[in-house]
Symmetry: C3
Subunit: 666 residues, 3 copies
């Protein structure tokens, strides 16, 4: 992860759609934004028609006028390429640019993101408009950065057009060279699926029961990611030929079937994210779990892609479409809380979605800072508070989030867990469990991509990577032998890189773990747990019965036919050690405590369970997700950065409902 | 609402399918009907093949024979045009007449209503057969009226054929004139949906997430209604050219995406309805709510369309298809109860569906008066009881239902609430709540279309009209200033007639209400209520925090961040007043009591909760929906019209389980 | 039912896929199987490409090598025709061979069973490869039998290709001769569905609400069965022309829309079944009911088709696809228990699915005897135990299952119950109830097809045959008059053979039952029961109120408007009697007790509720489905065949959790 661009200093932006408003509102809007601390607007990402109203006819007058006003008033701009919403004239003339359902039904004009990445015609038309825009606006003094398209792979991350089949064949040909190689690597012998001509290969098509070759599906997901990257790269390359070095290229991402790390490394300068914690309060959202606090995990994932990122769309009001997703207005404090949640996890720029709620279209309930009535409201008041706080902590930009523990992730296993319901269940269960364990024990953690450097962490969790390559094992072996602690869960490494299950491989596929799996089973919910250090911890969905060769047994199962059998083992290796857990990880903190990594700041502050603690450099940030005030106990006085700056707090520190505190570490 | 035809005197009919039975059964069936008081049969609405067995070949011998028998025996006939079920030869030859799913899949022969209204070919073939029938039977002495098609828009009220797109384009062109106007009014700027050629416009097509421009969708619904009306008008015009003035034209309606008021006003002479309260007892029906009593609301809606209507299909036996909708047989008394529920609400003709249960096809479980075994049964005995009662109250025809309270409805908001899940939730919640409040407080009410006259009502509820036009506001202002009381709920008027949300509009959009909405939010179920007059009343799904300018606060919220804030206000204006409620209406009667309109007959009779009371002219009708006997207390003696006619009842009046009483007001 | 082939002696097999493994594993695998008692392998059923890698090019070298090894080592082989999975080259060249969804969407290469039975091209290509295989391997000394295709109609039992419509028309033409006859018999008058040309007839196509003519649907199901049989017969005829008389032809069946009795009688030599009781423990399986014990009903149905059958695929490990169906590993004992459940019900051959778990494809979680790690495990140890037991009871082959009670079934009603939700609910309810009643009262029973001989049974249940032909009534009359007891449930015989409901037919349609149905109704769950002999028994979903003419009332309803009315009657007729029950049958044993057929072995042994008892000839088999030990009490000593052979057990016999006992009757 080499980051090419940093936002600095910490600042506020918003998303603005000049095309949604009468021009007479523009100046008032921009002046009002500036008066509330909004210094940047993101524009144009759905405005193809405003620039190319008919095929090949370009007209820049609309944005010329708006950008000229921005320049005059001193508003900075992030300009979006408009390729997420092709015009009606385009899809009417070239239906081959459309994405399709798996049965071939074309997805038509009327919503957004209805194109496919692989249509040569769409690539040509996108390249042309991006080039026209880049030539015309590339050096505009107000534009500080460029957003490619909008939310690549949002809403739908599967593509079934004819162009996709053509491109998929090319991808497979390049990867495997020969059909013999493809057939062998993808296990097509099963159910007689052997391919004898490249033309027999397609993106997934309708089958009985929806079953298809899972190994080909894994390649399909990798292919989609490649498609996204190559589509984005066309635009990035064109932009870079015309914009100054000081302007960045980004996209607002973190959707499925994309290797975001690769996207960041090879296409973008900086990564931005759209953060909507209010999804946790939608009418059909589950009422248990971490709710909005879960977004800290998403933000941790974003930080894994890009250490110092921006928020391109930060929740301001209620969200919803006219067709669904009803969610309440954020309660007083939540808008600020969630913005600071982003900052706590590495955001150096926070742009609210959106200035004023759309008066039309599908998103009339995706509320902005202002409502239709255009009056000042409590969100504007919270914006002022945030602006004031941002002013006080503006130096936080570039400061690193502090964590000694990390969870290893990789795209192969992410894709596989989406395809394979057995694998997926384990991953979701441990993701939930580990995140809760970390949060409740106030243990900051990172997510680290398997390709990145592990050396910063004393403890790594790698819960259930079904797919395990030799290189990864070698890397883990190096990490442990040099002093790291590796904790792995059940089903470690039973698949090769194509998702096949090698014959004769003994699990867990980690030779230096000092343990093997004697037998193992999926389980439906039952009461069986693992007894560990006098406590009972969760062991859901799957149980590997362990058989130590050299490892020590730390925990055993409490029931069923494997009652008393080993469930948790520990093996020292080199300077480090490996713990193997035969099941999924629960929200209990016992393993973190055992490894001595929980509550790293407990000598400084003891927080209530509902409060998240995050440290970026010298900044200590406390976030209260609860609807009631929470008390944190300080061991020594701290200087507080919000409210009256410089106030020293000591003893009991009360966070109001949904409240935030930022202090300075000595 | 100008009604052109009245049924009189009150009478019983049935639906008969001569084509389902061996001709040898006809005479016995007709004689048996007449002996049980059935004086009219509805026929022919699914019998195209019996008249035009091959394209262009007409043969009237089948119905000649049947109608001749009717004439001989004195049975009156309502003749249905057979256009709801095109023959196999027709759809095989002209697949363009078929309706389609949104993805273009044609809906084929094998069920019913598989045609589209806009196919020129289908219109031509329908016009031809209707004209042939009208010429041949138009003056037949037994025929008293004509039914157009059958249940227009039943089962499916969306149309996606190519003919529909062609017609939709013409509709839009006529309405908007230019694409610029269309683009502006329909807010196509959002997500770059601007249209640059009429050919780019279609009926809805598949999109990602199913989202489409909601304003275009609203036009689409209006367009479907227009399509229904113009399709029906072709037939009505042909019929009228050939039938006597004494014969009526009707259709059996009240389905979605139709402006039934307009249909009644411009196409029909009288409106008929198909009433199936047993739907409330289907295996998958919700077990809470008003169950069969809810049909009183449907009948109120029918009365809004046509003050004195007919029931073309009245529940007699169990209903169900072989593929679903299992419902039990009506319990002893329910058939009569439900027929009298229709009469109580304005029906002057009640035709049971159907004489004898179909021995074949999808509807073998849609039971008629007789079962397959053809024996007399308890439904026939109830029919006799009803016939006797009808004889005693036959003068009820033309008598008006008595109500001082009305709920305002309009099609714009009805359509919008079907498209917009936020709007829809509110409407459903208040419809349920208000209906229960009216019923439990024995407060008869009307539904009044926004275009109709309000002057008969002392109190109007207009719960959640998201769409609000200037004319409507002016009309409401007149109503209130002249002494009316208007009660409105949350979200009043935030949309224009296209469903867009005007910028700068302050809510509620009712200048003389003396109150504004400070802030507002969707809410998931929680315990918060409104404290009003010492009681707590429901406030579900949405909460507007009110800010009175000149209005008085009557009620406040009991929790959350708006605890203690105004929730119900009152403003006097002219001779009347406006109450604004910040949420949805619940089943509590407090607002009705406060306004003094509940229990208007309480000086005469105090009814049990499970008994509905209705008054038509001098007739007082009591309906017991409960499986147990219910007691009503009379303040003075009343003359009873059922059982032994003229019996005077006083003191405690017991209604048997599912029982009915009709009394005469002094 | 004339069985043409018997497995003997009792033996173990497995399913092996030589094409899934490196050839270097073959010899080790075969030797290892033989060392654990596996004497037969089923091969090749998904291996078309291994024999015809390109159209018209045949290459037998792969299986030559494998079969030669089998011959050398003494392994017997069942060879499968590979037609369940056409190669990619085939479906790419001839898409007309594919099955389709009802909307015409073709079901593509990538899963299995994606062909249609009626494509002339597919029949031609299947015939060719089967003939090539038969010529080449027909007389191979290792091959003892042939499996046609694999699981005909598994996963999907509906076919909507164009070839199917062509064949369906031919079927209808042959059956009905004229369109007039078809229209009349199939009641097409309803909803004007009359056909005027054969070309207007299709396999079902999309319609509004999914409703189609139910009588045509019934023919469609009969047609699918005919299609399966004629497809299978092509292969069977070819095979028989080339194989020795000692080799059998089978298929592994019991899927829907197939007349399995006809298939067995006219196409096969012996029937085999795939038994997976672990389905009862899948993550989404209902947690109530008989769970794995339910498979005894399936096996009873198999026995109805073929008295002495084989299990082609017997559950060994966990089952699941990567896309779903997660189920746990069978617990210790269950694999053996389920194998013995098969034997107890008539299996003379048990072939485990599969030797080693597939390392690739959709079925990586459909575990075999061995896991990917290829180590011996507890399933191999259970296999050894089973091999030992099989050795001790190998003479059981050909011994008949002992039952005095039977449930009558027929395909007309089975198909109708799948189409007609009213009928289906009753059938499912009584199937569940009667099976539980039989099991809990330890009453072995058979299922007998309506075409088969009833004389072996003293009591017949024929719960809810909606369709009833005159021949069947005559047969039942003969059965009863000769001394049998017939017990029928509600809704007996209200339909003719086309599923239409004849007018004037009095129910129950059984003249000698001495009772009629006065009225009847579907009911939602309520508390009403039937009072019978001082006990209350279940009466769910439907209630016929009975009116005896000559019958005696045995039971009455306990509630609703038919409280106290007859619900169970008895009529003696000839030497026998008929009981009519007005509802569905519950799990109470009262009717069995009343008829004196429950617990036929109670003088010998009294079993715990969780233990199933089965007798084949002199073999008494006890099966404990519970996770805890169960006690059975013996009245006299028995010789035990498992564990130490010949051990005499007496008094209390303990079955361990999931345990099995086989004893010898004196």
């Amino acid at each position: 992860m080499k980051q090419k661009f940093f936002f600095s200093p910490l600042s506020i932006g918003t998303c603005y759609y000049p095309e949604h408003w009468d021009k007479t509102l523009w100046e008032e809007d921009l002046r009002r934004m500036l008066s509330h601390g909004v210094r940047t607007v993101r524009i144009a990402e759905f405005a193809w028609n405003k620039i190319e109203p008919r095929e090949g006819v370009f007209d820049f007058s609309f944005f010329d006028e708006f950008l000229s006003l921005c320049e005059t008033l001193g508003m900075k701009v992030i300009f979006g390429t408009p390729t997420a919403t092709p015009p009606a004239w385009l899809t009417q003339a070239y239906p081959e640019v459309l994405n399709a359902r798996i049965d071939g039904t074309l997805l038509r004009h009327g919503a957004r993101r209805h194109y496919n990445y692989n249509s040569p015609k769409y690539r040509e038309l996108c390249a042309r408009i991006v080039e026209q825009i880049a030539i015309h606006y590339g050096k505009h003094p107000s534009i500080i950065g460029w957003q490619i398209d909008n939310e690549l792979n949002c809403e739908l991350m599967e593509f079934y057009s004819e162009s996709d089949s053509v491109a998929f064949r090319a991808y497979l040909k390049e990867k495997f060279g020969t059909l013999d190689e493809l057939n062998e690597k993808l296990g097509t012998t099963f159910w007689n699926q052997t391919y004898t001509a490249w033309e027999e290969l397609y993106v997934p098509r309708p089958t009985i029961s929806g079953a298809v070759n899972p190994h080909l599906m894994l390649e399909y997901k990798r292919f989609i990611s490649k498609s996204v990257l190559s589509f984005a790269k066309i635009q990035a390359d064109i932009l870079r030929a015309h914009i100054p070095e000081t302007a960045f290229v980004t996209t607002n991402g973190l959707f499925g079937n994309v290797d975001n790390h690769d996207l960041e490394d090879t296409v973008l300068d900086v990564y931005t994210y759209d953060s909507y914690p209010n999804f946790a309060y939608m009418a059909d959202a589950p009422s248990d779990g971490m709710r909005d606090r879960w977004w800290s995990r998403n933000l941790t994932k974003v930080r894994s892609v890009c250490k110092h990122f921006g928020i391109m769309e930060q929740q301001s009001g209620a969200n919803g479409w006219n067709t669904g997703m009803e969610a309440p207005a954020p309660k007083p404090g939540q808008m600020k809380l969630w913005a600071m949640q982003s900052v706590a996890h590495g955001a150096d720029y926070v742009s609210f979605f959106r200035w004023r709620t759309s008066p039309m279209g599908t998103e009339i309930y995706w509320h902005g800072l202002l409502d239709y009535d255009n009056r000042d409201n409590r969100r504007i008041r919270e914006l002022d508070e945030l602006d004031s706080l941002f002013g006080q902590i503006k130096e936080i930009c570039g400061e690193d989030y502090v964590a000694r523990v990390a969870i290893v992730e990789d795209y192969d296993n992410q894709y596989d867990a989406e395809l394979d319901v057995w694998h997926g269940r384990l991953v979701r269960s441990s993701n939930d469990g580990l995140f809760a364990a970390m949060q409740y024990s106030h243990t900051p953690f990172d997510i680290v991509d398997v390709r990145d450097d592990f050396s910063a962490y004393s403890v790594l969790f790698y819960p259930h990577p079904a797919i395990m390559t030799d290189e990864t094992i070698a890397k883990l072996e190096r990490y442990v032998s040099e002093g790291g602690t590796l904790v792995i869960g059940c089903r470690f490494g039973y698949k090769d890189e194509y998702g096949k299950c090698p014959v004769g491989r003994i699990l867990p596929h980690l030779p230096f773990a000092g343990v093997t799996v004697k037998e193992s089973t999926f389980v439906n919910p039952d009461g069986v747990k693992v007894s560990f250090g006098g406590r009972l911890i969760s062991a859901n969905w799957y149980r590997d019965v362990l058989e130590p060769t050299t490892a020590t047994v730390l925990g055993t199962y409490t029931g069923d036919y494997y009652e008393g059998e080993p469930a948790l083992t520990e093996q020292t290796y080199g300077k480090g050690k490996v713990l193997v857990y035969g099941s999924t990880f629960g929200e209990e903190r016992e393993i973190l405590d055992y490894l001595g990594v929980s509550e790293p700041f407990k000598d400084l502050i003891v927080c209530a369970r509902d409060v998240e603690i995050a440290v970026r450099g010298k900044y200590l940030i406390l976030l209260n997700y609860a609807p009631t005030a929470q008390i944190c106990c300080l061991s020594s006085p701290l200087v507080c950065m919000d409210g009256v700056v410089g106030t020293v707090v000591e003893g009991e520190l009360e966070l109001p409902p949904y409240g935030v505190k930022v202090c300075i570490l000595a």
